[in-house]
Symmetry: D2
C-alpha cells in the first residue's frame, strides 16, 4: 500500500501510523518528500484492511501497489535509482556505463593486459570471474579467492571499480572485501538465500536474469534483495533459453523498456552471453543503447583464442575499441553520454 499523508502531518502522527503498520506484520516504509510524506506498507496487503487507514484524519489517500513487486516498482518510487559504484562511476544516470573484461580471471598478466586495453577504450568498470559456475565439473572452475585478490589489485592499479560473481553465501565476505559490485549470476537468480545475503551487504548487486525467468521473475528476485535493505540493485538482461539454436541465448531486448517503465532500477545488457557469437556483440550493444539500457557488460579477452572459458563470444581488444567508437552516436541519440 502507498499511504499519502496530508500536508502538515507531524512526525509523531506519522510514527504512530508506522507503528500500526508494523504491528500487522507488514514492513513499514517512511518516504518523506518535499511536499508530502508518503508511507509504504509492504507485504500481504489484505491484512491492512483491518486498520481502516483511509479513515485516519492524517491520511489523504491509500492506494494498493498493483504489481507483485513492491519496493522495486515505479508505483512506489517513481524516480530512477542511481547506483553508486565508487568515485565517478554510477549506474542509472545520464552516463551510459560500459563494464568490460574477461569471462574469468586467469592470471595477473591476462587480467592486467585486458584491463589496460578496456580502460583505454573507455570502459569504466572491470569484470572478471573468480568463481565460475560451469556446466561440467571437469571444466575450469576459476581461481577462487586468488582470483578475487588479483581482480581487486588490477582494478586499483588501473583505476577501475570491479564486479565479480558470488556463487555461494560462504564466499560472500571475501567477495565484499575485494569487489565494488557483486554479481548474482543467471543460474542463481532464484537462489533466494543468496539474494537475501547480498541484500544485507554493503555493496551494489548486479542481478542477471535467469535463462527461464520472466521479467516479472527478475523483478521479484530484485525485490528479495531490496527487501533485505540493499537498495542498490542493477538488473541485467543476458538472454533467455528458447528453441533458437543459432545463438547461445535469445537476447530479449524488449525486457529493457518493459523494466524501465515498471521499475526504478537501472538495467544493463550483456550482449556476450545474450548471443554467444563475437560478431553479434557489437550490433546488439548498439541496439541495447537505442532501446534505453543504462549500460553494457561485455566480455573482452586479451587473446580470446586461448581463453579458458567463453572464448567464442569474447571480443579482441581492438574489436572492443571499435565497439566503443560505434556506440557513441547511438548513446548520444538516446540523450546520454559515454
Amino acid at each position: 500500500m502507498i499511504i499519502v499523508l496530508k500536508p502538515g502531518t507531524s512526525k509523531e502522527d506519522c510514527d504512530r501510523i508506522l507503528d500500526q503498520i508494523a504491528a500487522t506484520g507488514l514492513k513499514p516504509l517512511y518516504l518523506p518528500g518535499t511536499e508530502r510524506t508518503v508511507l509504504g506498507a509492504i507485504g500481504d496487503e489484505r491484512v491492512l484492511a483491518g486498520l481502516h487507514l483511509e479513515g485516519n484524519p492524517h491520511v489523504e489517500t491509500v492506494t494498493p501497489i498493483l504489481s507483485p513487486y513492491k519496493l522495486v516498482s515505479r508505483e512506489l518510487h517513481p524516480h530512477d535509482t542511481v547506483v553508486p559504484l565508487g568515485p565517478g562511476a554510477r549506474i542509472g544516470s545520464d552516463r551510459f556505463v560500459v563494464v568490460a573484461g574477461p569471462c574469468a580471471v586467469e592470471s595477473r598478466e591476462q587480467l592486467d593486459a585486458t584491463a589496460e586495453r578496456v580502460k583505454e577504450a573507455g570502459a569504466s568498470v572491470l569484470r572478471g570471474g573468480a568463481f565460475k559456475p560451469r556446466t561440467s565439473p571437469y571444466s575450469f572452475q576459476g581461481l577462487g579467492r586468488d582470483g578475487l585478490a588479483l581482480l581487486s589489485e588490477v582494478g586499483r592499479r588501473r583505476g577501475l571499480p570491479v564486479v565479480t560473481e558470488v556463487v555461494d553465501v560462504s564466499d560472500l565476505d571475501a567477495v565484499v572485501e575485494h569487489a565494488d559490485m557483486i554479481q548474482v549470476g543467471a543460474r542463481n537468480m532464484q537462489n533466494f538465500r543468496l539474494l537475501q545475503a547480498v541484500g544485507q551487504c554493503p555493496r551494489p548487486v548486479l542481478l542477471k536474469r535467469g535463462p527461464a525467468a520472466t521479467v516479472t521473475d527478475l523483478l521479484m528476485a530484485a525485490e528479495y534483495v531490496v527487501a533485505e535493505g540493499n537498495p542498490n540493485v542493477v538488473l541485467c538482461e543476458r538472454g533467455i533459453r528458447t528453441f533458437e539454436t543459432a545463438t547461445r541465448n535469445t537476447l530479449d531486448l524488449s525486457a529493457v523498456p518493459f523494466v524501465k517503465q515498471r521499475s526504478h532500477l537501472p538495467i544493463l545488457v550483456d550482449p556476450s552471453h545474450g548471443t554467444g557469437i563475437r560478431d553479434l556483440v557489437t550490433p546488439m550493444a548498439l541496439a541495447a543503447a537505442a532501446c534505453g539500457a543504462d549500460g553494457l557488460i561485455v566480455e573482452v579477452h586479451e587473446n580470446p583464442e586461448v581463453a579458458l572459458s567463453d572464448g567464442k563470444q569474447s571480443l579482441f581488444p581492438e574489436q572492443f575499441a571499435a565497439l566503443m567508437a560505434a556506440l557513441r552516436p547511438f548513446v548520444e541519440a538516446g540523450g546520454r553520454h559515454l
Copy 2:
C-alpha cells in the same frame, strides 16, 4: 557449388558447363561479373562430383556452398540485394524504409485517414490486411477482395506503394493486381505451396518469420521463393514464441545481424507484433535501426481504441510521428537516412 571460371572463358564454353550441370538435375546459375564469370549449381551437391568440374580447363575453382540455403546466401551472392518497390521506394539501400498502416483495412475512411497521417510523418509504404488470419473463426476476418481494392485506391491517392498479406494461392492473382509487395504471414512461413506460388509472381515478397521458426528455417523459406525465380524477397523479424508472457512474442533482434552476415536479402523488423504492447514499439524500433535492420513495419491506426484487430499494439498517429522523429538520429548513427 560455386564454380569460378578462368578469365577469358568464352560464352560457348560457359554454356557447355551450364548444360552439364543441368543434365545432373541441379539448377544451373549464370552470374557474369566484370572480371570473372561465376556459375552456380544448386541442389544436392553430391551429384556434381561425377562431373569432375575441377578438372575442366576453363574452371578455376569449385567451392561448395556450406550453408543449407544457397541462392539467398552471401557465399554465392556477396552484395546486398535491393528490392524495388515502385518509384522511389527500395528496400535494402541506404534509405531506412518505414512501412506503416493499420492491421486490417476496415473502411475507406479509416484507411485513408491513417494513410494520410503515416505519409505526413514520413512512412514510405502503406500496410493493411484484407485477408486476416485469425485464431478464432468468430473474429473479424478482414474485408477480403473489397479490402484489396480499397488498399490500392488509397495507396494511389496518397502516393504510397502498398503491401498486404496473401493467405491462399487462390487469392494470389487478386493480390498481385492490387499490391506492390505481397506479404507471406508468420503462420504461412512454411506453407511451401504458397512460397512457390509467390516465387512465380511479378511482385516483391515480404516474408515474415514464423513463431517457431529458427533463422535458418526463415532463410530456407526464402530459398523456396528465390528458387522459383523471384529474387525480390524482404525478410521480416516479428518475434518468436517463448515462455515469456510479458510480451506477445519475444522480438529476436539478434536475428537481424545474424541474417545480414549470412544472406544478401534485406530484413525489416515488426516491433508491433514483436512486442504486442504499444509502449514498447518505439524503443524496439530504435533498437532495430541500431542493429542494422533495413526498415520497419509498424501498425498505426487512426483510432486504436476502436480497431477491429491488434488495437493494443497499434500506435496512435501522433505516437507514430513521434517515433519517426525519435528514429532519425539512430538511423543516421547507423549510416543511413530516413
Copy 3:
C-alpha cells in the same frame, strides 16, 4: 450460448428461436435429446443479449460457453465424438487405434511391403505422405498425385483405410478421391483457408498440433473445421518446439488429458515426430496409451536405413510388431482394447 428448452416445447417454437438466433448473425444449432432439446448459438455472444431469450416462455436456461472454442467443447457436447473411418475402423471408441506406415510413399514395393507388415502386426490404418512439406526446396518432396494413387491402391489391397496429408486447397479433390482421412500437418495447423476447405469435405480430418501452438490454438483450429460443417476431426499431439535439443520436438503428453477433459474430439499421439528418435518411440507410445490417447500414428518403414525422409525416427517392421505386443497390456489397463 447453450439454450436449454423446457420439456414439451414444440418444433415450431423451437424453429422460431433458431430463426431469431440466425437473424443476429450467430450460427444456430439444433441439438435434440431424449429428454430435452438444446439449442446453441455460436459466435460473438454479446449480440445475443438483445434477444432476451431468458425471458422466452419456452426457455429453461441460457448459459454462456466459457471456452473460446464452442462446437468442439464439452460444454456444448458432453459425449465423446467417435469418428468413422470406413468399415470397422472408428477413432474415439473403446478400441485403441494404431495408424502406421512410412513417412512418404516412395514406391509401390516400399509401400506394399510396409503395409503388409504393419497390418500383420495389428495396425488398422495406413499412413503415407504423397505431398511432403520439407524445410529445404532441395529435399525429396513426395510423389504427389502418383503417390496418392499408390496409397489408395495399396490400402485397398491390404484392407486398410488410408490417411495422407493435404498441403494445398488445390489438391484437396484428389486427396478426397484417394484417402479415407485427410491430414492437416503441423505447419498448416493455422492455414485457415485449408481448415475451412477440409471443413467442407466428406472425409474425417486428422489435425496435427503446430510446433508453436498451444492446446487452445489447436482446439480453435479444430473449431474452424467443425464450424464449416465437418464434425469428424481427430486431433493429434506430435510435440512442440522447445529449447530441448535431445529430441526433435518435446512431446507434450499432458495435452492429451487436457484436451479430453475440455473437448469431445478424439486425440492421437505421434511419438515418431514427437521424439525424432527411434528408440524413444515405443516408451512414448506406451505412455500415450496410459494417459488416455485414443490411438497412435507411428512411422514404420520396410527399411528405415534407405528411407527418403524421417529414417532416423522410423521403426523397423519387427520393432513395430514389438511395440504392438508391448502396447496391449497398457491399452487394457486403460480399459480399452487393441
Copy 4:
C-alpha cells in the same frame, strides 16, 4: 576413459596403473568385475594420451567415454543403480516407488493427517518442504528447522522415510540429521556448490531438473554430485518452461527413456509440478509408469483448499488413493510392482 584389463592382471599391476592415472590429475576409478577388472579415468581425457596405456601389457582396450557425463553414464557403468532409502525402500529396483506428501510442512496436524492417508494408500516415502523457495519474498517461506523436526518425527511415527529440500549449504547438516533423502530443487539444479556439498553427504540425493535445463544439463548436474563421492542420486523430471500456458510446466516424459538409455541412475516423475493442475496428475502419473520411470513424487494435502502453497496441484487424499489403485495395472504392465 574406460580401461579394460586383461584377465589375470594382479592387484599390484592394477594399482600401478591407477597411480599413473592419478598422477595426471584425472580421477582414477577401480571397478572390479567377475571376469575382468575395469578401470576408469575421469576428467579431461586428452591428458591421458601421454600415458600410452594402450601399450601397457596388462591393458586390453582403452575406450573414450563419448558422453560429456562420465560417472553417471551407462558406458562406464552398464547396470542400474539402486538407491537405498532405509529399510525396505529402494529406488531403481523392480518396485515402483511413490513419494507423496504436502508441498510444505505447515503443522504437525496437517503433516500427520496427510502422512497417515498417503501411507494407507500405498506411498512408501513421505515428502514435505521445510525450506520453501518462493518467487515472492512475501509468500510463505516454510517452517524452516521446526519443519524439519516435524517431518522426521512424523516420518518415524508413520514408518515412512522422508525427503525434503535443502536450499543452502548452511542448512545441510540439519537436513542430513532429519531427512532420509535430500532434495535439490529445480531452481538450484545448477547451484554447483550445493551439488558439491550434497555430493559429500551420507544421504541419497533427489535432483530435480531445472525449468531451463536440457536432459544433458541434468546429467551433468548429477555428475557433480557423484564426482564428489555420493553415488546415490535419483533424478526427477518435473517439467520444463515452454510457451504453453495451459499447464504450469511442460512435463517432458521423453526425458525418462532418454535418461534410462544413457545413464544408470534412477528417475522419478513429478506430475504435480509438471502440470500444475490437479486433474492432470493421475493421467500423467500413469504415463510416467508406462514410459519406464522408477517412481513418482506427488503432492497430496489433507485439505488442498487451505494449503499454504501449491494447493491447485495437490491431490485430495481420496484422489491419491484412486491414483494408487489406477496405477497398479500400468506398473505391472511395465514389469514392476507397487
